[in-house]
């Protein structure tokens, strides 16, 4: 029996099943009479479909049927963009292409067979005739005259222009002593959840019930969007997210395959399954990042930053994915003040269609891009004026605040103490000692560098009205139900939908702490639209800050009601009844006690309820907070570079995060570790690379370097605590912190290691050749400078 408290590192309840092979992921589901879908996908990045001949495929024994995009065109509808930017162009996005393909991997036909191997064989027999068109993969070039055009609706491939202005950047730059400009590339990433996507669709024609099992972060939103585009009634659609094997944002949308499988199951009246292969995943599941940023920072030689200006080409891929327009705009542009007081900030974002896989949220989603840009520019500014980057940071930090602080981008942070987090990090990491080590190493020909990243993030996705004003197509609140059974056991229903975050543990921990029942007596149910009435899902580090608060509210209602019942049972004034460790008692009469389970029974037996009280003990709450939460922290990275090869290793990594109050430190540390690994992965070695004609050159795990254990160090993590007042838990959200902070810490460290060679900036990823060339180019430039000054001096 585990009686949990808030703040305990309770071991996870999920683990027993996942460790013993009894988890249940979509591909583990097998239904009677199930058929298997294999999708025929375009090998071309841009082409007209002239003909689709399915006769050979359909004739293969074991093939049930073959559908083309044209066959299902009417039933499939068009995938929606759920986030709208003013004057945005949102062209149709057919789940199966029927006239034109715009990216390698666009589905053009679906083979349905009795066995996955036969479906795969038949898919090879579908004969598609294409007229190949020129393709474009670079977002900047795509906007230029003469570039291949993806959609009739946009003549220059631009989906939207978004901007935010605070203060007056032009004036700030004019009066500044120093202006530093840099182009920064934030390369495209492939999320690589270890479980690819998969769908099982099951149709019951007798009552028109369609059930879709899918590996998703958003069962309810998926159901809503599915229903809106196909017309299948929402109340007869059940979406189940079983165990989900990681997502990091890439399972946050309505996907073509969900619609295709649902519609095929309806057409055939039989269950169907589609399981994504990894190489299929690389083209069919969303990517992340992919910004070209032209940035300026301005300020004075005393270290004061007075302005920041950025123009971004955000590559959106071939179509608008569900949340895509919100990521490079709201979640990026509004974050550009970082932890600093920057009076003037200007940002323009051009969202561009290209013949590449759609780009949407990937862990951090906009905020890593923003942090990378801000933290890089602060370092460049410091380098330009010849000051310590830590001194410049401290000079520009916002002073500690508890009750809100508005910055130039117009957003209001909830609470912050940026000096505090940095101070803690510097207690752990001795910069002075490192600088000595660095000097000594340099004499021996070894390159060491340290980088800092003092970051801020926006989490706890909600409040609905604000999100709506910023373009969200739906509210972002959360719901919970607490159902106390007659025996005192508790079922929690939550609209959040975890995929590794451990909600079954931390939510049960909250219930255990609040109701005084053992963890074993709490069951947390999620990810099933037939169980939870509605929920927004799990993304944007929101589950605890929004869903946890919804749970707290239901628990409060349960406790209020239970206390009244207990008072009745104890024959006392409710004001005199205490509730502690799961027991109701009276202050003055020690022998009069009542365990929570007895009150639960009394609530259900209803033999002695207070007048007009409804029987039962079940409460539901909806929570829509007044503000986002704004976690922050300070990360420090040390790198070692092999000068002769450019190979770069992380020697040390220190993370101090402030995510407010913590329910389960073990789970939080785990998420921070994983986040850092993804940030380091981007900095060091990840990156999706396309050929100019739109072929993905990093098309499998043989070429896309997901970090292994050998690529990473162990991490040193610590926390400061600045609670938020946005929710009662004081919790801000932890899921993305590591990813948001890490990439500039690594790059700043590399530039620190190379700055004696004159290096000012290096883009990600730090593939060995890239670092090696940067070093060599810098040496060549240095030699040239020396010879120029030698000539001048003679």
């Amino acid at each position: 029996m585990v009686m949990a408290k808030l703040g305990d590192s309770v071991r996870r309840v999920e683990d027993d099943r996942l460790i013993t092979g009894r988890g249940r992921y979509v591909d583990d589901i097998k239904l009677n009479g199930m058929l298997y879908v294999s999708l025929v996908r375009s090998p071309h990045a841009h082409a007209l479909i002239k003909n689709v001949d399915v006769s050979a495929a359909a004739a293969l024994p074991g093939v049930e049927t073959v559908f083309t995009g044209a066959d299902l065109q009417e039933q499939l509808g068009s995938l929606p963009a759920g986030w709208t930017i003013k004057d945005m162009v949102a062209p149709p996005h057919p789940p199966m292409a029927f006239e034109k393909v715009r990216v390698v991997g666009d589905a053009v036909a679906a083979v349905v067979a009795i066995d996955p191997a036969i479906a795969a064989d038949a898919a090879q027999l579908v004969d598609v005739t294409y007229e190949v068109l020129p393709a474009i993969v670079d977002a900047e070039k795509a906007t230029k005259p003469g570039a291949p055009q993806l959609h009739e609706e946009s003549s220059d491939n631009v989906a939207f222009n978004w901007e935010v202005h605070g203060g007056d950047y032009a004036t700030a730059a004019k009066s500044a002593e120093v202006v530093v400009k840099q182009r920064i590339i934030n390369q495209r990433l492939i999320p690589n959840s270890m479980e690819t996507r998969g769908v099982v669709a099951d149709y019951d024609p007798g009552n028109d019930h369609l059930t879709i099992y899918t590996s998703t972060q958003i069962p309810h939103l998926m159901r809503l969007l599915f229903s809106l585009i196909t017309g299948h009634p929402e109340h007869k659609l059940r979406v189940v997210a079983p165990d989900v094997g990681g997502a990091f944002g890439c399972k946050l949308y309505l996907y073509a395959e969900e619609v295709i499988c649902g519609i095929i199951a309806k057409n055939l009246g039989r269950p169907v399954k589609w399981t994504e292969g990894r190489q299929e995943n690389y083209v069919a599941t969303t990517h992340g990042r992919d910004h070209i940023a032209d940035v300026e920072i301005c300020g004075n030689k005393d270290g004061t930053i007075t302005g920041l200006n950025a123009h971004i080409y955000a590559n959106l891929g071939a179509y608008l994915s569900t949340f895509a327009p919100g990521i490079p705009t709201v979640l990026f542009g509004l974050m550009l003040s970082g932890q600093y007081k920057i009076p003037s900030i200007s940002c323009k974002v051009t969202g561009v269609f290209t013949n590449t896989t759609p780009v949407d949220a990937y862990r951090g989603a906009g905020r890593p891009e923003a942090t990378h840009l801000v933290e890089r520019m602060v370092d460049m500014f410091a380098q330009e004026i010849g000051r310590d980057p830590l001194v410049v940071r401290r000079k520009n930090f916002l002073a500690p605040f508890k009750n809100g602080k508005e910055v130039a981008t117009g957003v209001k942070y909830d609470s912050g103490n940026y000096q505090g987090a940095l101070n803690r990090a510097l207690e752990i990491f001795d910069v002075k000692a490192f600088r000595e080590e660095q000097r000594a190493a340099r004499k021996e020909g070894k390159l060491l560098g340290v980088g800092f990243s003092t970051y801020i993030e926006i989490c706890g996705m909600a409040p609905s009205a604000v999100a709506g004003a910023l373009g969200a197509g739906a509210g972002l609140w959360e719901s919970s139900t607490v159902r106390v059974h007659p025996t005192g056991k508790v079922t929690v229903l939550t609209g959040t939908s975890p995929h590794g975050q451990g909600h079954e543990t931390s939510f049960a921990q909250i219930v255990s702490a609040e109701l005084g029942v053992p963890m074993e007596d709490v069951d947390v149910l999620h990810g099933d639209t037939d169980r939870q009435q509605f929920g927004t899902g799990t993304f944007g580090s929101r589950s605890l800050a929004v869903g946890g608060q919804a749970l707290m509210m239901s628990l409060k209602k349960v406790k209020d009601k239970a206390l009244k019942i207990a008072a009745r049972e104890l024959d006392a004034d409710p004001k005199m009844v205490r509730f502690e460790d799961g027991v109701y008692s009276l202050e003055d009469i020690a022998e009069k006690q009542l365990p929570f389970a007895s009150v639960a029974l009394a609530a259900h037996s209803a033999l002695n309820l207070p007048p007009r009280m409804e029987p039962g003990l079940e409460e539901t709450s909806f929570f829509d907070p007044e503000n986002f939460t704004w976690p922050f922290g300070a990360h420090i990275c040390v790198v070692e570079i092999d000068e002769a090869t450019g190979e770069t290793k992380i020697a040390k990594y220190v993370a101090v995060d402030d995510i407010g109050n913590v329910i389960n430190p073990m789970i939080v540390d785990g998420m921070v570790h994983g986040g850092i690994a993804q940030g380091i992965g981007q900095a060091l070695q990840e990156g999706a690379v396309y050929s100019s004609d739109g072929q993905l050159l990093t098309g499998s795990m043989l070429d896309y370097a997901v970090p292994t254990a050998e690529d990473l160090p162990s991490f040193i993590t610590d926390r400061t605590v600045t609670p938020t007042n946005v929710n009662d838990l004081g919790a801000k959200g932890a899921g993305e912190a590591g990813t948001i902070a890490a990439s500039p810490a690594v790059i700043n460290a590399v530039v620190d290691a190379l700055k004696h060679l004159g290096v000012k900036h290096i883009d990600m990823p730090l593939r060995s050749e890239h670092v090696w060339r940067t070093i060599n180019d810098a040496k060549v430039a240095q030699r040239a400078n020396r010879s120029v000054s030698a000539v001048k001096g003679s």
Partner: protein, 158 residues
């Protein structure tokens, strides 16, 4: 043309007719209904499908089921005995060596062999030893801790 194979999986010997091209991982998942072994890639990189074949860790997506004919397979489902978790399983729970759990069965199978061969590995040896298993959730930090914990022989104790 189906071939008959006899394989002992987690102590139980079964004879089945299988297609020659059926992979060992598909045989385990689809024929034996042992879905604890996962498929995470198609290029033998991720290690999610790792099982022990004839006592050695193997990526079961890179072996045809017919190659296992006459052999012995152990999967994650066969690790616990009498309801007591294998010390490596207990260590993964104790040290929070998993989040989404998808890579975990393969990671555990690899880690068990690692300690069989090197009962006292250094951190570098652990990291090298599990480099054929990808995890996207944990950053490997707590997986390394779990393997160290299991190596210290305290797995399973609270």
């Amino acid at each position: 043309m189906p071939t008959t194979i006899t394989v002992t999986v987690n102590g139980t010997t079964r004879t089945n007719e299988v297609d020659e091209r059926l992979l060992l991982v598909q045989y385990l998942r689809e024929v034996q209904n042992l879905t604890g072994t996962h498929i995470g890639c198609d290029t033998s990189n991720c290690g999610a499908c790792t099982v022990h074949l004839n006592g050695k860790a193997v990526k079961s997506c890179t072996v045809f089921a017919v190659q296992a004919d006459g052999g012995t397979v152990k999967t994650v489902e066969g690790l616990a005995s009498n309801g007591v978790m294998h010390p490596m399983q207990a260590a993964f729970k104790e040290k929070h060596g998993l989040q989404c759990g998808f890579c975990t069965p393969g990671m555990i199978m690899t880690s068990i062999e690692l300690l069989e061969r090197n009962p006292n590995p250094s951190e570098a040896e652990i990291r090298r030893g599990i480099r054929g298993n990808l995890c996207r959730c944990t950053g490997y930090h707590n997986i390394v801790e779990a393997v160290k914990f299991a190596a210290a022989g305290t797995g399973g104790k609270k």
